[in-house]
C-alpha cells in the first residue's frame, strides 16, 4: 500500500480570493525545501472571488506524478469546503473544521450546486444523520476520520494579542495558520515552514515575521488543544541536498520556449493559457551565455486571429515565433494556420485544452481537441501535432517544437491541457544544454538575385528559405496556390506540384523523427495488457500500473507523443501483441483510439474515458484496469467522480 507515512495527501479548500493558492504554496514549499517530492493539483472556477477552489498536495520521499482523490488530511475554513470534501477523506485520515460552522446546514451553502446538495442530503439521510456540518462530521468520525475543531477567530485574536497588532492584520495569516496546523499535526519540522515563508514573501521581512509568529502559535495550539495520537501520519523530511525547483506546466512551457530561442510571442488572454504568456512577459529579458541580455518580445493582441497572424508575420523575418491559446482561441486561429501552412512558415502554437465545446468548462481539463488540432483549417495541409505528458516533456517539447517548425517549415501544434498547465511539481533544474537548436534550411542568396524561388520543388518537400529582409531573397507570399516564386496561380500542373511538395514534408518528417520522440513505452515492455494514451493521463496510468504489478498483473503504457505525422507503422507493430488494448482518454469519444483505427485498422478492446473536466486519479484507473483484467464486457468505461 502506498498510504504510508512518507506519502501524504493534503487538501485545502476555500473561496477564491481567500488565499487557497497561497496556503497551498506554503505547504508545497515547506515540503520541497525539506527535500520531499511534491505534486500539486489545482481546481478552480471561472470566477474571481467567492467560488470554491481547492488544491491537492501530495508529498513523498519518492517522486509523485499524480494527486490522490482521497486525501488523508483536509483543511477547511468554511462550510462549502467541508461539504464538498469531508466524505472524500480516507479512513484513518483527519480534517480541520471551523468551530463556528458546526450547526450550519448543507442547504445554506451558497455556491454548492443543487445536485451536490441533494446527493449529500440523501447520503446523510441514509445514515440517519442531519444534513448539517455536524452530520458530515459525525459521518467522518464513524468512518474513522479524526475531526479537529479549530476556532480560527480565537487563534487570530491570540496572535493579535501576543504581537500587539490589530486583529485585521493578524487575520491575514489565516492561511499560514491553517498550513502550520496541518504540518504541526504530522509533526513536520518547523524550520522548513519558516523557510517556505521566506520563499513566499522574499525580502518582505515584516510579513515573514508576522507569519513566523503565526506558525509558532499554530504548532503550540495543535500540541495543546488536540490529542493527535489517533492520527497515524507523521511527515519526515527527505533529501534536502538534491537540487530541486518547484514549478507548474505553464512555467515549464515558458522556460522551454526561452531555452529554445523563441524571441516573439503574441497572445490573447484565455484560460488556461494566459499564465504562460504572463510569465514570459514578466521574464522578457534574461542573461545569456555570451554575456548579452537576451529577450523575448511578448505582445498582447486584440484577438486570437491577430495573435496567430502577428506571430506568422514575425516568423517570416526569422524570429522564432509562437502564440499560446486554448480551444476557443484556437478555433479563431484556424484560418491563420492555413495561411502559415500554405506559405510554409515555421510557427508554433501552444494549445492548452480545456473542457469544450464552445466556452465549455473554461477552467477544467479535457482532451477534446485532438481531432480539431489534427484537422482544423479548410483544405489540406501538413502540420506537426505533438502532446506533452508531464512537466519535463512540457519543457523540452516546447523547445523541440521550434526545431520541428524550422526543419519542416511547418505549423507545429503543441498540445497540453489544463491539468498539466496548473499542476505543480518538484523537478531537478533542467539542463538547457541538452537542447540543440536547429534552424533548418535558411538560405543566404546571391544578393543580386532579383526573385528567389522560395517554394522550389524538392525531393524532401523542404525548400531553402530566405528570411524577410535578406538581400536577393525577395519573393511573394500568398494564401492562394502559388508558383515557386510565390505568385498566385490556378495552373493545374503547378497546383499539383506545390500540393505534392507540401504534403511530401509529412513523409520526410515521419521518416526523420526518431521513434523515441513519437512514442514512449512505460511499465513492462513485454506485457500483453496494453494501455494506449496521450497527454497528462500518464501520471495516473503509471500509478495504476504499479498497483497492478503489486497484484501480480503486468501492464505497459504506450504514450503517443506525436500525432501528426501519426506513428502508424510503429504502433501497429507494438499492438500486434496487445491483449487487451485499452485506450485511456479525457474525452467522450476516445479520439486517439479512433485516429489509431483510421491509420492502422487496429481497434481498442476497451475505452476508459472521463469527461467531467477533472483529471484521472491513479485509483480510478487502477479500478478500471482491474475490472478489465477481470474480464468485464463493458467496452467503454466512464469514470465518474461526483465529489471533485
Amino acid at each position: 500500500m502506498t498510504n504510508t507515512r512518507d506519502d501524504l495527501a493534503w487538501r485545502v479548500g476555500g473561496p477564491q480570493g481567500s488565499g487557497v493558492d497561497t496556503a497551498a504554496g506554503i505547504f508545497q514549499r515547506a515540503c520541497a525545501i525539506g527535500g520531499l517530492n511534491v505534486f500539486g493539483r489545482r481546481e478552480y472556477y471561472s470566477n474571481i472571488m467567492g467560488r470554491h477552489s481547492y488544491f491537492d498536495v501530495r508529498v513523498a520521499k519518492r517522486p509523485v506524478h499524480i494527486h490522490r482523490d482521497r486525501p488523508q488530511l483536509l483543511t477547511t475554513f468554511e462550510t462549502e469546503s467541508l461539504s464538498r470534501h469531508a466524505t472524500s477523506v480516507i479512513e484513518g485520515g483527519a480534517l480541520f473544521y471551523a468551530a463556528k460552522d458546526v450547526e450550519a446546514t448543507v442547504e445554506g451553502v451558497t455556491y454548492l450546486d443543487p445536485r451536490a446538495k441533494a446527493d449529500l442530503t440523501a447520503y446523510l439521510e441514509e445514515r440517519d444523520l442531519p444534513a448539517t456540518m455536524s452530520g458530515l462530521l459525525e459521518d467522518a468520525r464513524r468512518r474513522g476520520v479524526q475531526t479537529y475543531e479549530a476556532d480560527y477567530e480565537q487563534v487570530v485574536q491570540l496572535l493579535a494579542d501576543n504581537l500587539g497588532v490589530p486583529q485585521a492584520l493578524a487575520g491575514r495569516t489565516m492561511n499560514t495558520l491553517a498550513v502550520a496546523m496541518s504540518l504541526a499535526l504530522v509533526e513536520y519540522q518547523r524550520k522548513y515552514v519558516y523557510a517556505a515563508l521566506e520563499k513566499t514573501w522574499p525580502g518582505k521581512q515584516k510579513i515573514i515575521d508576522l507569519n513566523i509568529a503565526a506558525v509558532d502559535l499554530a504548532y503550540e495550539f495543535v500540541r495543546d488543544a488536540y490529542d493527535t495520537s489517533d492520527f497515524a501520519y507523521r511527515l519526515e523530511p527527505g533529501d534536502s541536498k538534491k537540487p530541486c525547483i518547484l514549478l507548474n506546466g505553464n512555467q515549464a512551457v515558458a522556460m522551454g520556449k526561452i531555452a529554445g530561442g523563441m524571441t516573439f510571442q503574441s497572445y490573447y488572454p484565455i484560460s488556461p493559457a494566459t499564465d504562460e504568456s504572463v510569465y514570459l512577459e514578466a521574464h522578457e529579458t534574461f542573461p545569456t551565455t555570451n554575456g548579452d541580455r537576451g529577450s523575448v518580445l511578448v505582445v498582447q493582441t486584440e484577438d486570437e486571429i491577430s495573435a496567430v497572424c502577428m506571430a506568422a508575420g514575425a516568423a517570416l523575418t526569422g524570429a522564432r515565433s509562437a502564440t499560446a491559446t486554448s480551444g476557443p482561441g484556437f478555433a479563431l486561429m484556424a484560418e491563420g494556420l492555413g495561411w502559415a501552412a500554405n506559405n510554409e512558415v515555421p510557427l508554433v502554437v501552444t494549445l492548452y485544452q480545456r473542457g469544450g465545446p464552445s466556452t465549455g468548462l473554461p477552467t477544467r481539463t479535457e482532451q477534446g481537441d485532438l481531432w480539431f488540432a489534427l484537422n482544423c483549417g479548410h483544405g489540406e495541409f501538413p502540420r506537426i501535432v505533438m502532446a506533452s505528458s508531464d512537466l519535463d516533456d512540457a519543457f523540452f517539447d516546447a523547445a523541440d517544437a521550434f526545431n520541428y517548425a524550422d526543419r519542416y517549415q511547418m505549423v507545429v501544434v503543441h498540445i497540453l491541457d489544463k491539468s498539466l498547465s496548473s499542476k505543480t511539481m518538484t523537478v531537478p533544474p533542467y539542463d538547457v544544454q541538452k537542447i540543440t537548436i536547429e534552424r533548418g534550411e535558411i538560405v543566404t542568396p546571391d544578393p543580386d538575385t532579383e526573385v528567389f524561388p522560395r517554394f522550389a520543388v524538392t525531393e524532401s518537400g523542404i525548400s531553402p528559405r530566405p528570411l524577410h529582409g535578406t538581400p536577393g531573397g525577395m519573393h511573394w507570399l500568398t494564401g492562394g496556390e502559388h508558383t515557386p516564386f510565390g505568385r498566385v496561380t490556378e495552373d493545374p500542373v503547378v497546383r499539383e506540384a506545390q500540393m505534392e511538395k507540401r504534403m511530401r514534408k509529412m513523409e520526410t518528417a515521419a521518416r526523420e523523427i526518431p521513434v523515441d520522440e513519437k512514442l514512449r513505452v512505460y511499465g513492462d515492455p513485454e506485457a500483453e495488457f496494453t494501455i494506449l494514451s496521450w497527454g497528462s493521463n500518464k501520471g495516473g496510468i503509471l500509478e495504476a500500473i504499479e498497483r497492478l504489478a503489486d497484484d501480480g498483473v503486468s501492464a505497459r503504457l504506450v504514450q503517443v507523443r506525436i500525432m501528426s505525422p501519426f506513428p502508424k507503422t510503429e504502433l501497429a507493430e507494438l499492438f500486434a501483441s496487445a491483449k487487451p488494448l485499452v485506450a485511456v482518454e479525457a474525452n467522450f469519444s476516445g479520439q486517439l483510439a479512433q485516429v489509431l483505427r483510421q491509420h492502422t485498422g487496429v481497434t481498442c478492446d476497451h475505452l476508459v474515458v472521463k469527461y467531467n473536466g477533472r483529471p484521472f486519479s491513479g485509483r480510478e484507473l487502477y479500478e478500471a484496469f482491474t475490472a478489465i483484467h477481470a474480464g468485464t464486457d463493458e467496452e467503454k468505461l466512464v469514470i465518474r467522480n461526483p465529489n471533485e
Binding site: R29, A32, I33, G35, P243, C244, I245, L246, M255, I258, A259, G261, T263, F264, T285, P287, T288, T289, N290, D292, G294, V296, L297, E302, D303, I305, S306, C309, G313, A314, A315, L316, T317, G318, A319, R320, G336, W339, T426, P429, Y430, V432, Q433, I435, T436, I437, E438, R439, H468, G469, T470, P471, G473, M474, H475, W476, L477, T478, R487, V488
Partner: protein, 326 residues
Amino acid sequence: MTTATEERKLTAKDFQVPFPNDWCPGCGDFGILNSVQQAFARLGLEAHKVAVVGGIGCSGKAPYYFPVYGVHTLHGRLLPFAQGIKLANPEMTVVGVGGDGDGLGIGAGHFVNAGRRNLDMTYILFNNAVYGLTKGQAAPTLALGLQTKSLPGPNIQGQLNPLMMAMSVGFTWIGRGYSYNVKKVTDLIVAAIEHRGLSFLDILQPCPTYNNLHTKDWYAGKDLVSGQPRIYWLDDTDYDPVVPEGADDAVLSAKASAFMARAHEWGAEIPAGVFLDNRSTSSFADRIETRIENYRAEPPHRREIADAAGKPTADLSEMFDEVRMS
C-alpha cells in the same frame, strides 16, 4: 525607413515587375500603385528591406506588383501580419495596402488596435466604397441610402468615417489622397513613410466597374453647378496638421477639434492632404525599449539564440533561482 546606398538614382521602374496586372481597365488602383512605386524610388528604398503587405480583394493583390517582399495575406488581416514583420524586424519599411471592406469591415478590430500601438509603419486604404472582387456589395464607407449598381436596393447600413476612426484610435499621421492625382498621392506616401509612427492614408478612388456613383466625373464635380472638382487640398488652406513634439493636452484638444471639422466635410467639397502629423506620441518601438533596452540593437529576427555548436544562449539560472527549493 531605409535608404539605398547606391549612387544610381532609383526610378519607379525599379519598383515595377514584368508580370501582367489583372485589375479592370480604368481602376483607381493603378494610380495608387504608380504613386507607391514613385514614392519608394524617391525615398531610395532597398527592395529587400521593404515589405508590402496586402489584404484580400482587388487592392490586396497590390503586393504582386512590387519586386520586394510582397505578402498577400487574409481578408482583413493585413495589419496583424504587417505588425508581426515590423515588430520582429524593425529595420524593414513596412507598407500595408488594402481595401475599405478589408480594413474597416472584417478587419476593423485590427485597425482599432493597431492605432493603439503606433508602430512605425504605413497603412494605405484603397477606398472605393464597394467590395469589388465579390462584385459590388456595399463597403462600410458607402453612405446610408446610396445604391451602387449591384445593390438590389439602397444601402440600409450607415457609413463610417475612416479619418475619424483613425484619429480616435491613435494613428499619429492621417492623410487623404485621390487616386488620379498621382503627384499629390506620391507626396503623401513619402510623408506617411517618413513619419515616425503609424500612418494612415485614405485614398479615394473610383471603381469603374461597380461604383457608378463615385466616378471620375463625380470627383471632377461635373454634376455640380459650379463644375469645380470636389477634392480640395488642405495645403492650399491655413490648416496646420502638425502636433509638435511635447505638445500638451490643450494643443492636442485644439488640433482634434480642427481635425474633426475637416474630417466631417463631404459632398461638394472634400478635403484631402495631411490631416494630422502628431509628433508628440511615442512609437511602439520606443515603448518596447523601456522594457527591452536592446530591442532595436538586437531585434527578435536576429538575436543570437544559439552558439556555434547549436546550444542555447539563454541562461535560465535566474528563472530557476526564483523557484529553487533546494
